[in-house]
């Protein structure tokens, strides 16, 4: 089954990004295809290349990038939401790309399911 995911909150502050990640991993392990994760609202902060959590903490941004590389997941950061919050190409983490909201609507159309994680 083809699954799309929407993440509405930033890393660390809310659990939304963690829940979305764990869900995505489980879906991929079950043989489903996670075609796209769209980051909207504060979710765009997940695409920041500059985060540096304490050493014993999980690396939220990096693990999204690794998952995307391993399973060909399209990680899309909404351009309008990102500009408003200071995420641009210059501080965009590896594995993410910046694009428009149409990519979210498209994820709703082209996937069998769209699952939303937020606050």
């Amino acid at each position: 089954m083809k699954i799309g995911i929407l993440v509405n909150e930033g890393p660390y502050t809310h659990q939304a990004s963690d829940s979305a990640y764990q869900f995505a991993v489980a879906a991929l392990k079950a043989g489903h295809k996670v075609t796209r994760v769209f980051f909207y609202h504060d979710g765009v902060y997940n695409g920041s290349s500059l985060t540096e959590p304490p050493r014993d903490d999980r690396l939220i941004v990096e693990r999204w990038g690794k998952l995307a590389a391993q399973y060909e997941v399209d990680l899309v950061v909404c351009v309008a939401a990102a500009l408003r919050r200071g995420i641009r190409e210059q501080n965009l983490a590896e594995g993410f790309r910046i694009s428009g909201l149409g990519q979210l609507v498209e994820a709703g159309i082209q996937n069998d399911r769209l699952v939303v994680f937020g606050d």
């Binding site: 939304a16 764990q22 489980a26 079950a30 399911r113 699952v115 994680f117």
Partner: protein, 100 residues
């Protein structure tokens, strides 16, 4: 429709609203802070016990463990699932509505 709720019912009326909007074939999955609402001896527990007569109710086990709540303290009939079970629920229902 699979309805997910992620907020504690003690901090938000979202669970009550979700339960008020269930139709035939709908299921409820509690994740994140919402899992505390399935404990026995609470108003939300009573709400879910009633809900269980017509709709299945699930709780995400990793979130339950994170909050130190043993499965034995859940309202009878509430089922625990892990993330793989979450995925199965998503695929078994025709759509997902996240109550944020």
């Amino acid at each position: 429709m699979l309805h997910t709720v992620n907020k504690s019912p003690f901090a938000s009326p979202t669970l009550t609203q979700c339960v008020g909007h269930l139709t035939d074939g709908a299921a409820v999955l509690l994740i994140e802070d919402a899992v505390v609402g399935a404990t026995e001896g609470t108003a939300s527990g009573a709400l879910l016990a009633k809900c269980l007569k017509t709709h299945p109710v699930y709780v995400l086990r990793p979130d339950l463990m994170a909050r130190g709540i043993g499965e034995g303290r859940l309202v009878k009939g509430v089922q625990c699932v892990d993330y793989a079970g979450f995925v199965t629920l998503v695929t078994e229902h025709d759509a997902v509505q996240s109550w944020l």
